[in-house]
């Protein structure tokens, strides 16, 4: 009996020791995790992402006004390529390099990723276009991650054939958003001042076009001088300044309806009217008895409130996207500099301290930066800085760069540039340009005549 008990105890002891051993082994197994090597990569490149954009597959026999459905598919692809390339973030892989294999239908749903990888594409866009019985176009596309071999997004649109260019912009925006995480800016428009004639008798007309320069239209006939057009951030509405019988008036113009109304007659000179982010107010500077200050007007009640009271010249006000702050330009410190204040007019703080003169501050729709014009040692620059004045970066430089306006995603700035005059008085052309936040992607926007003072619209809804 005793022996039996001893045996039981010994067995229990073995069990315990086995458990202990198991615990120790588990402990030991976890050790090698420490051996995992961590590689820190902190140097990279900012090269455009190679994307292959194929023509949208469509029937050649279906004919609509302007060409076959297949032809529309090719044109849409061209606009998408141009949009993405212009953004500076994408590089469209030459279609001559495309490796064609398999069926058209099969390639649309199951692309051969190895073929696309072989030509260096990181992303692929393909799709189709077809004519519906009701005369509308059905356009669908898919965006593929070539290296990851999966679909990133896919969308379908129905539209009238005359809107084919807008569809191209919408697809461009969808690709841009999926690849960058940020809303696109291709389905937008730009208003600007179109200029023609000799310097002493300049004709200035209000004009509008798509952001890529297409669908250009004049909104005014040029009889009256127009200045400083600004888009409403919430609607397809513009505010601008026009001289009628030498009196400056602030106008409100609805692009969709073509309806125009006078916002108000103001005593003295009025400058640079600009909408608040909610579109309910217009902030502007007004010169009265030789002194210029910042005022804000409620659009519904037309009530005006004075925000600054200073003997200095306060101009070019612009709201922050949350409407809590206003940035403006003032010479109250002795030279033209940029200031930020609360939207009530309190707590005015200077934020620019660099050499030269700073003007035309415009708050980014993203809220993180303020764009400005800087004049220093005979040159003009377009730059950005944080709302507290830190992180100033100059993005463009020329004889005369001025009037920055933000794309709705806050990633691109459009401005106008004037060429210098030569000894014989030639030159002086004004053109529209864009530059992105990196400062490396600077491009001209082609306009039919000279162009100045652009204003970028929000995304068209």
């Amino acid at each position: 009996m005793r022996l039996f008990k001893i045996l039981r105890l010994v067995t229990a002891g073995f069990t315990l020791s086995a458990l202990l051993a198991a615990l120790l082994v588990t402990f030991a197994v976890t050790m090698p995790a420490e051996a995992r090597i961590v590689v820190d990569v902190n140097r990279g490149h900012a090269d455009p992402l190679p994307i292959a954009i194929t023509d949208l597959v469509g029937s050649e026999s279906d004919i609509i006004s302007g060409g076959s459905v297949k032809n529309y598919g090719q044109r849409i692809a061209l606009v998408i390529k141009a949009n993405l390339t212009r953004s500076g973030l994408f590089h469209s892989v030459d279609s001559e390099a495309f490796i064609r294999s398999g069926t058209v239908e099969g390639n649309l749903r199951n692309p051969n990723f190895n073929n696309w990888k072989a030509i260096g594409a990181h992303a692929l866009m393909n799709g189709s276009i077809s004519l519906q019985e009701d005369g509308r176009l059905k356009v669908e596309f898919r965006l593929w991650d070539v290296l990851g071999a999966n679909q990133m997004t896919g969308l379908r649109y129905f539209t009238s054939p005359k809107n084919w260019r807008r569809i191209a912009h919408l697809i461009s925006d969808a690709i841009y958003k999926r690849m960058t995480g940020e809303s696109g800016y291709f389905d937008t428009r730009v208003v600007y001042i179109s200029e023609s004639g000799i310097a002493t008798k300049r004709v200035k007309r209000l004009a509008i076009m798509d952001q890529d320069g297409h669908n250009h239209t004049f909104l005014t006939n040029g009889k009256n001088l127009v200045l400083t057009p600004r888009f409403s951030p919430t609607a397809q509405e513009i505010t601008y300044l026009s001289y009628h019988n030498d009196d400056p008036r602030v106008y409100l113009y609805n692009i969709d309806s073509g309806k125009q109304e006078i916002l108000g007659d103001f005593p003295g000179m009025t400058f640079a009217p600009r909408f608040s982010p909610d579109g309910n107010k217009v902030i502007m500077s007004q010169a009265y008895k030789g002194n210029s200050d910042i005022y804000v007007m409620e659009l519904r009640t037309r009530k005006i409130k004075q925000l600054t009271r200073h003997t200095a010249i306060d101009t070019s006000p612009s709201y922050s996207p949350d409407s809590r702050y206003v940035t403006f330009n003032s010479d109250r410190g002795g030279s033209q500099q940029i200031y930020v204040m609360e939207s009530s007019g309190k707590n005015i703080k200077r934020i620019s301290f660099g050499k030269g003169r700073y003007s035309t501050p415009v708050w980014s729709p993203r809220g993180d930066l303020i764009a400005f014009t800087r004049q220093y040692q005979g040159k003009f620059y377009i730059g950005v800085m944080r709302p507290d004045g830190s992180g100033e970066r100059l993005l463009s430089e020329s004889f005369l760069d001025e009037g920055p306006t933000w794309s709705p995603n806050g990633r691109v700035i459009m401005f106008f540039r004037q060429q210098p005059y030569d000894n014989k008085g030639r030159g002086g052309e004004t053109q529209l340009w864009t530059v992105d936040l990196t400062g490396y992607n600077e491009r001209q926007v082609i306009t039919p005549l000279d162009a100045s003072d652009p204003a970028w619209s929000p995304l068209i809804r």
């Binding site: 001893i6 020791s17 120790l24 902190n42 140097r43 990279g44 490149h45 900012a46 995480g181 806050g410």
Partner: protein
């Protein structure tokens, strides 16, 4: 009953004693080893950033702490037992280290890494006071310990290689540097410049590699959940950019095959702050 309790207690004591003294992982001396290793002993090839970081502390470290620690350790070390001594490389056996050099170098495709490894073994001291060999000889427990050193003993090469912690650190740094250089030189990583708060979009990718440097399975984003959270579109973009970089740069066939156990799993951290702010 008393006997039973006594027997049980004695037996448990025996098991515990065996566990504590017999099993190496219960008393880890790794940290002390790592502390003793002076950084200036690590010679890094032509690598830029690491070289810059390592060069600076040279004069300081030579003067102060590491040298003080070295002699301390010598004092504490008991004389090697005769059996082990017979395995030690004596001065007349100076050919052995050369053999090692040849073993590491044949990877001609990876000259940067292979060339660095042998440089660390202090050639000036062909005596038995090679810190790495001493540690391996004196501390028998390490042979059974599944740590980095153990992993570096590549049994596929027939001969057992004794590698010091200096080697480990040097080789680790070499691998880190080689992978970083490879990703940069081949322009695999497109930084998400221009995105709001791009500087803070740090992404860690976990990879598993085959012995020939190919990716095993799909590389994984450590914070994968964050990619699909609303308002984290910028992070998703940054993560996808990092994934593209890892895939584009594969295969990593330049890594030394004899150190496969060291790089079979790599965590690659993509930090755009320096790249963006310059």
């Amino acid at each position: 009953m008393r006997n039973a309790v006594i027997i049980s207690l004695v037996f448990h004591m025996v098991v515990m004693t065996a566990g504590i003294f017999g099993l190496p992982m219960t008393s880890r001396e790794k940290p002390t080893q790592m502390k003793v290793i002076p950084i200036e002993m690590i010679s890094i090839g032509e690598v830029t950033k690491l070289k810059a970081q390592e060069k600076k502390p040279d004069p300081v470290t030579k003067k102060t702490p590491p040298k003080k620690k070295m002699p301390e350790r010598k004092i504490e070390m008991p004389p090697p037992p005769p059996k082990l001594a017979s395995n030690m490389p004596l001065p007349d056996m100076a050919a052995k280290p050369k053999k090692k050099k040849k073993k590491v170098e044949p990877e001609k495709t990876t000259p940067k890494i292979a060339s660095r490894a042998p440089e660390i073994t202090p050639k000036k001291k062909p005596s038995r006071f090679n810190s790495g060999k001493l540690s391996a000889l004196l501390d028998k427990r390490e042979a059974a310990q599944p740590n980095i050193i153990e992993q570096l003993k590549d049994k596929t090469f027939g001969e057992e290689r004794v590698i010091s912690t200096v080697d480990v650190r040097q080789q680790t740094l070499s691998i880190i540097d080689a992978v970083g250089q490879h990703i940069f030189k081949n322009q695999c990583w497109n930084i998400p410049a221009g995105a709001k708060g791009a500087e803070g979009l740090v992404v860690t990718i976990q990879t598993r590699l085959s012995p020939d440097g190919k990716l095993i399975g799909s590389p994984k984003v450590v914070e994968k959940r964050r990619m699909n959270m609303p308002g984290q579109e910028f992070y998703r973009t940054a993560a996808e950019s990092a994934l593209r970089a890892v895939r584009k740069c594969a295969p990593y066939d330049f890594l030394p095959k004899d150190q496969y156990n060291l790089w079979r799993e790599l965590d690659i951290v993509f930090d755009p702050e320096y790249a963006i702010s310059g």
